[in-house]
């Protein structure tokens, strides 16, 4: 049996999808930790344990910022192309993919199965998962709790363009005795507004699909949808979109349709 594996080494989490000729046979997430090389080795071990070793009948394509650390990969492809391919496979039609990642946010236009253009925010952590992580930490909660709090709050303004300054704003709100729910709602709105700004700059074509680790957060999806004035689609496999795209590339080469 031939296997096709996509490995997406992100800044926070590493996602793996294994395909055979007919569909997904395995998927898992590991924290990336401090060494992409060790993560790549841990992924290889995990694949061996499940009876599909990387040196067996398997083709691996690596993506994500740690893609070069996957020494057993046959090819590396950027996360933009992989999210485009994977997102298209999930939604099944031309669309705009919004990926809120750990250290960058991307808006990708996908036409006929392939990304045709993209815009990336990669110089600043405002509007990324990292921003949410820092603010959750400041509020003494984890990400899940941050969204739960936000849902019960009335958003306070957090207007700084910079994460470091935004953190000071959050501290001022804490100091002023504001409700944690309202601060949390403000934090989520800040990310939503940065992401919506990136979308406006790039332009949206077709339906919007949110991929990346935050696509499971219903509250964020709801706020983003309100902000964009259009439905935001998600998929249970959304956080695997990059890895799925990489696996599809491993299986199908460069063909237009996955």
């Amino acid at each position: 049996m031939s296997y096709f594996t996509g490995i997406d080494i992100g800044s926070t989490a590493s996602k793996v999808v294994v395909l055979d000729e007919s569909g997904v046979v395995d998927r898992f997430v590991l924290p990336t930790g401090w060494s992409s090389k060790e993560t790549a080795a841990a992924i290889a071990d995990r694949l061996s344990e499940s009876g599909r070793p990387v040196d067996g009948d398997m083709k691996v394509v690596a993506t994500g910022y740690g893609r070069v650390s996957v020494e057993y990969a046959a090819r590396t492809v950027t996360e933009i192309t992989c999210h485009g391919r994977g997102g298209y496979a999930l939604l099944g039609r031309s669309c705009t993919i919004v990926d809120i990642g750990g250290q960058d946010t991307k808006v990708i236009t996908v036409e006929d199965g392939l990304p045709s253009s993209f815009l990336m925010n990669d110089k600043c952590s405002a509007g990324t998962g990292k921003f949410l992580e820092i603010m959750a930490n400041r509020l003494g909660v984890d990400l899940g709790e941050l969204f739960a709090l936000a849902e019960r709050g009335e958003p306070l303004a957090i207007s700084s363009m910079c994460t470091v300054f935004a953190e000071s704003e959050v501290i001022s709100h804490i100091g002023a005795g504001e409700r944690r729910e309202d601060i949390a709602a403000g934090v989520v709105d800040s990310v939503v507004s940065k992401v919506a700004g990136l979308c406006a700059r790039h332009g949206l074509k077709g339906d919007v699909l949110l991929t990346g680790g935050l696509c499971d957060c219903a509250y964020l999806v709801k706020r983003l949808s309100q902000r964009l004035g259009t439905a935001v689609y998600t998929d249970p496999m959304g956080r695997y979109a990059g890895a799925l795209g990489a696996a599809l590339i491993a299986r199908g080469g460069k063909g237009r349709k996955p």
Partner: protein, 388 residues
């Protein structure tokens, strides 16, 4: 994406090597009494400098080293080219600045205009007031500015510049424009005859060859070599490497991390709509105009830099280049805080993607290496959108 090495000629000199070699030549020429005028920008009518028996020299502005020193006096959120220009002067680390009798600046953008006021405290900096439109009033005003610059040269050196001096300089500089244009148009060959990295480097390095005649014969020789090599080894052997046009800000300071990087990923940079590309070469000074100042004013005002408003001609040039160089994608380089290019990018993107129907990538960057990884990802992803 696999990285491949660029094919460069055996005697290839990097921009920095050429710049350093030029220091010694300039020192010798100074010792023999040469007149030297320092400058930064292609809007300066160099014909007048040649007519004054002086050498125009492009001053250092393309590396990161002097920027921290410059930031003691200048705001940090200013374009790296302006900070480096001032930093080199402030730290006295650009021999060309040291050897310049005076510096001529121009009011192209706000940052430069105000920086020249600070530079004037280090060395005599004469500023030409460049208007930002191309109508009759602007032309008349710019013509007066050109005459005033001639007076500055005459007074500074205690000389008289005749019309014949200017006409001779125009003929010589026009010949150099032709030679450079023919060299840059080698980029129209398909498959490519040389890397864009080599092409851009050689054009910039050529400015350190101070004798214009000699510069012309060196570039003509290289043009012939490249053409012969192409005829013998590449002609009729098409490749699937995407052909790119680079537009936007001066790119000498980011050539390694953008142009070299994208070519090592498997693309060819074939065309430059930039200061060091075809932009200043396409239109020559009209030698038949009986009013020599009008001829100079018209030529320089037509340079399609984004400081001009409106600046539709830049889109027309880019459109024509996309066709004649058979371009598959456009990369626009915007140096951080360069407002005019940054804003105009809106039109360029729309024109390239909608009217010409090819992919466009905008990279905003500075001279640091901090964003090298992110730029590589963008470049690789951009090539992936082209390779279908």
């Amino acid at each position: 994406m696999e990285k491949m090495d660029l094919k460069l000629p055996a005697n290839f000199e990097t921009y920095n090597e050429a710049r350093q070699k030029g220091f010694l030549r300039m020192k010798e020429m100074k010792e023999q009494g040469a007149r030297v005028v320092g400058m930064f920008c292609s809007f300066v009518p160099v014909e007048l400098i040649y007519a004054a028996g002086a050498l125009p020299v492009g001053l250092c502005a393309f590396t990161e080293e002097p920027i921290p020193a410059a930031e003691a006096d200048l705001p940090r959120n200013l374009c790296p080219l302006i900070k480096a220009s001032y930093g080199f002067a402030l730290t006295d680390t650009c021999p060309y600045f040291y050897f310049s009798d005076f510096v001529v600046g121009e009011t192209t953008c706000d940052g430069k205009k105000k920086m020249f006021e600070l530079m004037n405290e280090i060395k005599d900096t004469y500023v030409m007031q460049l208007p930002h439109s191309r109508d009759a009033q602007a032309l008349a005003f710019w013509r007066e500015q050109i005459i005033a610059f001639q007076k500055k040269l005459e007074e500074f050196y205690g000389i008289t510049i005749t019309e014949e001096d200017i006409r001779a300089a125009i003929r010589l500089k026009n010949r150099e424009r032709d030679v450079m244009r023919r060299y840059l148009e080698l980029g129209q060959l398909n498959p490519v005859a040389m890397s864009g990295y080599e092409m851009g480097t050689r054009v910039d390095a050529g400015s350190f060859s101070f004798d214009l005649e000699q510069r012309c014969s060196e570039v003509e020789k290289r043009t012939a070599e490249v053409l012969a090599d192409w005829e013998a080894n590449y002609k009729g052997k098409p490749t699937d490497r995407p052909r790119l046009l680079v537009t936007g800000c001066p790119n000498a300071g980011v050539r390694e991390k953008i142009i070299r990087a994208v070519e090592e990923m498997g693309a060819d940079v074939v065309a430059f709509d930039t200061c060091n590309g075809i932009r200043e070469k396409v239109e020559k000074v009209d030698e038949s105009d009986p009013d020599v100042y009008n001829a100079l004013a018209r030529k320089y005002l037509n340079i399609n830099c984004s400081v001009m408003s409106p600046n539709e001609s830049r889109r027309e040039y880019i459109g024509a280049m996309i066709d004649s160089y058979q371009v598959d994608g456009v990369i626009e380089i915007v140096l951080q805080s360069c407002h005019t290019y940054d804003v105009e990018a809106h039109f360029i993107k729309r024109f390239v993607t909608q009217e010409k129907g090819i992919p466009y990538l905008n990279i905003e960057t500075d001279y640091s290496q901090a964003d090298k990884g992110q730029i590589n990802t963008r470049l690789a992803a951009f090539l992936e959108t082209i390779e279908k």
